[in-house]
Symmetry: C2
Subunit: 338 residues, 2 copies
DNA sequence: ATTGGCACTCCGGGACGGTGAGTGCCAACG
DNA sequence: CGTTGGCACTCACCGTCCCGGAGTGCCAAT
C-alpha cells in the first residue's frame, strides 16, 4: 500500500533534514531519494503525514520538518542501528585500552563519545552502590591523625583524613583494622554499612572506633561518587545552529549542574538497550529542542553507570545510537576485566 | 595640564564602553561623567588619544572604543583594584570554609570565581613539584598485589595499584616501607626522586623494590596533578556578545584542552600580584579579543598553582582583578591552615 | 491512486531613503 | 594657547518596498 511509501517519505524527510538542516520540499525529495513517484504524490503523502502530526512546516509554503513525534516514529520503527565500521571499533578499543585507571576510562570515554558523535557527551562515574568492599586500610600518619582508605571492587578508592581527640597506639590501630576487615570485606556497600553499625566496641577505644566507623559509613554512603559525571565536547554546541540563547545557553548552564545531567541520562538500561529521549519527552522544558541518547554500562548485566550524548533533536539518530552503544560495550568489557 | 584630562577621558571611555558595550561619543561622555568641558574639547582629546593608538573608531563617524593598548594603559595606570565589600568577603569565606578536601577547595573556588566575575573561571590544581612527601604507605591487598599510597604536604593523595610477578611476605613489605619512609619522608618531590633512584637494594627482593620505586617515581613525576585544571562558568560565554564563531567557539574548544588553559594562566605570580593579559598580548592569536586575569596562590609566598578568569577584552578589570586576588588570598589561607 | 498544471503564499535578499549620532575642522574667544 | 560653538559631512541603522524562487494546495485528467 501507499502506507509504506508514506513511511519512506517520512524517513527521507528525517534523513534529509538531519543532513541539510533545512526544511525539505517535495521536489528535492524525489530527486535525492529514488522514490519512483512524482512530487505531487509526495505532496499528498506529506499532507497525510502532517495530518498525523509527524511533520510540520515552519511557515506556510516552506518545506516540511519532522516533529518530535516524527522523530519518535523514525527512531522506533524506521531505523536500525548501523554497526560501527571495523576501523571505528579498533579506534575505540585502542583509545580505551590505554586507560590507566577507572577515572581515566571515564575521561577517555567522554572524549571518545564526543568525537564519534560530534555532540556533547556525558559519562557518569560508576556508582558505588552495587560494588563490594575489597579492602579497608588504616594508616596512622601521626598519633592523632589517621588515614582511612576504602577500596571497592569497582576499582574506586576513597580516602579520608581523620583527626583524633586522643592519641592512639599502632597496635590498637592494627586491631581495629582487623576487626573492620572481618566486618566488611567482601560485602556490598549496603551490607557493610549494616555490619559497621552493629559492630561491637572494643573496650577503651570506643571513641576512636566510633570515629573511624563514622568516616567509613560516610565514605560508603557518599553519593558523590555516583553523582559525578564527566562532560566532553562542549565545543560541539557551536554547531547547534539554532538560536543561541534559546538552546545553547540553558545547556551550557546545565553542563555544570551535574544533578541535572544525571537526570538527563535517566535510569540505567541494561542489555544493550539504548534509550532515546526526544525533545519535550524529557523532564526539562528548557531542553525542548534537544534529544538525549543514553544507555547503561557495567560488568555483566549489571548497570553501574550511564553514558550518553545530548544534542539537537535534529541529529543523526542511527549513528549516534551506534556510537553510544559501542562505547558502552567497550567500557563494560573493561570493567569486566578489571 | 590637559594631559591629565586626556587620561580622564580615556578612563571614562573604557568605563563607559565596558558597561554599555557600545562605542562612546563625545557628547554622551561629558554628560555621564562630570568633566567640566564641552564636547568639542573632548573631541580634540579623543583625536589625540587616537593618534597615540589608545582608542579607535569601528567606522568613520561612530564613537570610540579602546584598543588593547588603551586597556593596557587603563589597567596599568588608571585604576586601583577596588576592594571587595565586606559582604563579598564573608561570602567568599563561608563558601570556601565549607570545603571538605583539596579537590573540593578547587571546585568551590572555580564556581565562586565564575559567580563573582561573571566570566569563565579557571583554577589550576595545586602542583606537586613544591610540596614535600608526608607519608608513603604500602598495603598488600593480596600476596601479589600491592597498593602504593603517596601523601604529600599539599594534602594531595596519590594511590597506585601494583601487580607483582612473585608473591611477597608481609614482613618484607614492612621492611620496604620502612626504608622508603626513611628515604623520602619530609623531602621535596625532586629530592625524593633522587633519593629513590639511589636507594640500595635489599637482597632477595630487588624485583619488588624496583617495581615499587618505579611506581612511586611515576606517581611523583606524574604531571597530571599539576596539569589538571577546573573550569567553571562556561555559561557566561553566552554574554560575550561578539560573534559566536570568532570568539566563543575557540574558547569553548580550549576549555577542554587543559594544556592550553595552563598556558593561558601563565607563570605563577606570588605576593598578591595580579597579572592581566590583554587581547593579542597572549600566545594564541585565536584569543585576540579575550583577556586573562590571573594570579598565583599557595601557602606563604610559595605559589603552588594559578587561578584566574578569561573573558572579553571589554571587561570590568578593576572588579575582576579584585575578585581574582580575593579568591587567591582565601585559597592560600586555607592551604596555610591545612 | 497518481500525475501534471496552476494559482497562491511567503521567505530572503537587494535597493532605496530618511534619521540620528558622531566626527573633523574652523573661526572666535578668554 | 587651550577651549568652545557652529557647521558640513559621513555612515550605520532601520523601515519600506519589491522581486524571484521554492514550495504548497487544489483540481481535473489519466
Amino acid at each position: 500500500m501507499q502506507d509504506e511509501r508514506r513511511l519512506a517519505v517520512l524517513r527521507a524527510i528525517v534523513e534529509d533534514y538531519v543532513s541539510t538542516q533545512e526544511p525539505v520540499g517535495s521536489k528535492a525529495l524525489v530527486e535525492r531519494h529514488g522514490l519512483g513517484v512524482s512530487p505531487a504524490t509526495v505532496r499528498n503523502d506529506m499532507a497525510a503525514l502532517e495530518e498525523e502530526g509527524l511533520i510540520t512546516q515552519p511557515h506556510t509554503s516552506a518545506g516540511r520538518i519532522p516533529t518530535d513525534k516524527g522523530y519518535r516514529l523514525f527512531v522506533d520503527r524506521l531505523t536500525t542501528i548501523k554497526p560501527m565500521s571495523n576501523a571505528e571499533k579498533r579506534a575505540i578499543a585502542t583509545i580505551l585500552d590505554g586507560a590507566v585507571d577507572l577515572d581515566d576510562v571515564v575521561q577517555r570515554s567522554v572524549r571518545l563519545l564526543a568525537q564519534l558523535t560530534h555532540q556533547v557527551a556525558i559519562v557518569q562515574y560508576p556508582t558505588l552502590s552495587r560494588s563490594t568492599v575489597r579492602h579497608v586500610e588504616l594508616v596512622s600518619l601521626t598519633p592523632v591523625r589517621l588515614m582511612v582508605i576504602l577500596i571497592l571492587s569497582s576499582g574506586r578508592v576513597e580516602q579520608r583524613l581523620l583527626d583524633l581527640d586522643v592519641p592512639v597506639e599502632d597496635d590498637d590501630v592494627a586491631g581495629l583494622r582487623g576487626r573492620l576487615a572481618a566486618a566488611v570485606n567482601g560485602r556490598t556497600i549496603a551490607e557493610a554499612i549494616t555490619e559497621l553499625s552493629s559492630l561491637e566496641v572494643a573496650p577503651g577505644h570506643d571513641g576512636v572506633q566510633a570515629a573511624v566507623v563514622d568516616v567509613l559509613v560516610e565514605a560508603m554512603s557518599d553519593q558523590r561518587g555516583s553523582e559525578r559525571v564527566a562532560v566532553g565536547g562542549a565545543a560541539n554546541l557551536a554547531r547547534f545552529g539554532d538560536s543561541f540563547e534559546l538552546s545553547v545557553r540553558p545547556l551550557l548552564e546545565a553542563l555544570e549542574e551535574h544533578v541535572v545531567l544525571l537526570k538527563l541520562l535517566g535510569e540505567a538500561q541494561t542489555g544493550g538497550m539504548v534509550t532515546v529521549r526526544i525533545g519535550h519527552e524529557g523532564p526539562y522544558q528548557q531542553f525542548a529542542s534537544t534529544s538525549v541518547v543514553s544507555t547503561g554500562y557495567g560488568p555483566g548485566d549489571e548497570a553501574v553507570g550511564n553514558l550518553g550524548v545530548v544534542g539537537p533533536t535534529r541529529m543523526d539518530y542511527p549513528g549516534t545510537m551506534a556510537a553510544v552503544r559501542a562505547v558502552a560495550r567497550y567500557v563494560s568489557r573493561i570493567l569486566d576485566e578489571a
